[in-house]
């Protein structure tokens, strides 16, 4: 039987198992889900010698406090995260983008993310999770994925099997940069908005609201005036789509978004900026910058290449 496990002494605010998410289910109402920040998710796996799509633990703001029992195991944390490794006789502050070894009885206290939302914990082994539609990603709204589709709770145990015996130390020199300008392609309902509304959208600052989660990011700021209709016939959504309901406050769809929506789409965040967008904390100010499709495609290629380069350096 399995003897390697974490005891969750404190679960944290929004701690879930994730992998890259699940495809081809939009038509029955199931979104992609998956790790919000795909780059940091993949890097965490590489730092512990796993395949890039292994299940990891994603946390937001405050992370979990875990006590480890079992044979020696490596772990790595990515993002911008403060954490402490508590050994029998001492405690050391850990660094992100570096692997560390946990021994039987050690504690890992993931205190908080610094001025960012999501962090990732990978271990050199396989979390024992259940898969639905080939993914362990937890969608708490539909209770799909690992851990019965629920957040990790205080007091539960998380089991790990197939620990990699080769615990080599790995490290990456990388600092997460923040963005303030979010690049956007015009949406399919762009002309529903007044000239003034369009101008506001691309020129004024918006503040990220506290009512933001894995489903969506609500924004506050000057109202965007709709001159055609504040409803459309409900139709498909994607992550990154920016809808504007009748109150004039934009909402950006994120990884657990509803698959269908009925508010006009003023824009779509380009794929290259998504990982950085999700890391912006409530209260952050952002501006939208218009780009064309061809530029968005090039920017994504560059971003993806940069991610590959980072991974290959590990």
């Amino acid at each position: 039987m399995n003897k390697n496990y974490f005891e969750i002494k404190r679960a944290g605010i929004n701690t879930t198992f994730q992998d890259k998410g699940r495809d081809n289910l939009y038509h029955i109402g199931i979104p992609f889900s998956g790790a919000m920040d795909n780059r940091n998710f993949q890097i965490s796996n590489k730092l512990v010698g796993n395949e890039l799509n292994f299940p990891i633990i994603e946390f937001a703001y405050q992370g979990p406090l875990l006590k480890y029992f079992g044979e020696n195991i490596n772990f790595a944390i990515t993002g911008d995260v403060k954490f402490i490794i508590k050994k029998k006789n001492n405690a050391i502050e850990g660094n992100c983008y570096q692997s560390f070894t946990l021994e039987n009885g050690d504690e890992l206290d993931i205190i908080s993310t610094n001025k960012s939302v999501y962090g990732y914990l990978a271990v050199s082994g396989e979390f024992d999770v259940n898969y639905q539609w080939s993914s362990c990603s937890v969608n708490t709204k539909a209770n799909i994925g690992a851990n019965n589709g629920k957040k990790i709770k205080d007091g539960q145990n998380i089991y790990i099997s197939n620990i990699n015996k080769n615990l080599s130390d790995k490290k990456l020199n990388y600092i997460n940069t923040k963005i303030e300008n979010i690049r956007v392609i015009q949406g399919t309902n762009f002309d529903y908005f007044s000239d003034k509304g369009k101008k506001i959208f691309f020129e004024k600052e918006f503040v990220i609201s506290k009512l933001s989660d894995r489903m969506g990011m609500r924004l506050e700021g000057p109202k965007i005036e709709n001159i055609v209709d504040t409803n459309i016939k409900s139709e498909g959504l994607l992550k990154g789509v920016i809808q504007v309901p009748a109150d004039g406050n934009p909402i950006i769809m994120l990884s657990d978004h509803g698959t269908i929506g009925g508010y006009p789409k003023i824009g779509v965040v380009i794929s290259a900026d998504y990982d950085k967008l999700v890391q912006l904390t409530p209260g952050s100010k952002i501006k939208f910058k218009k780009v064309e499709l061809a530029d968005a495609e090039t920017l994504f290629k560059l971003y993806d290449l940069e991610t590959e380069n980072l991974i290959s350096q590990i």
Binding site: D23, Q132, T230, K233, V268
Partner: protein, 224 residues
Amino acid sequence: MIKNISNLGDAALYCDFGSEVNKEINSKVIQYFKSIQKENIDGVNNLTPSYNKLIISFDLRKKNFQTIKKLIENLNVTNDDKLDTNRIKIPVCCDENFSLDIKRLEEKLQLTRDKIYEKFFGKEFFCYMTGFIAGMPFLGDLENELQAKRLETPRVKVPKGSVGLTEQFANVYTFESPGGWNIIGNTPQVIFDSTNENNPNLINPGDLVTFEQITKDQYYNNDE
């Protein structure tokens, strides 16, 4: 049959089948959806059919807008996919605690709640699509007198099982979720079952659905 193809962001095709919402246009959308599903195009990672649109999303590492657009334009769409139709009855309780927006509707529609319920429960609905949240059925068509817009600011939490109306459609919130529909009641019936991976939805596009009013006692004594 597709009127226009444009891009939705950098990783999706937005196929427009026309501005109206009716069963003819919706059937075309579903035919395209099924044909593309069968093609199993490498790099296409999601299809979202709706009333009169089909969104095809793809992996930008493998494909781009132009390549997918060409593939779709040259696709042979078969007409032989008949929709499988089931008839389904959904119990709904309209107790005060469940009918969150009935007062708003009385004002907006200038109808009494009895009249609203009489019209709603006397109707057979057609399922156009499922989605928004897992398994949520979009059912039409309500007559003009029952048509109201969404709430101006969507609720952060609509309770699971809520039955809502917007424009010519009715739906059921299969989970607690944000949403802006006018809620008139609640059902104890399980509409989405994630343990059944091959067929998780109780109601699928093309199905015919009626609602049946139940009392509070019947609601709480439901076997679910």
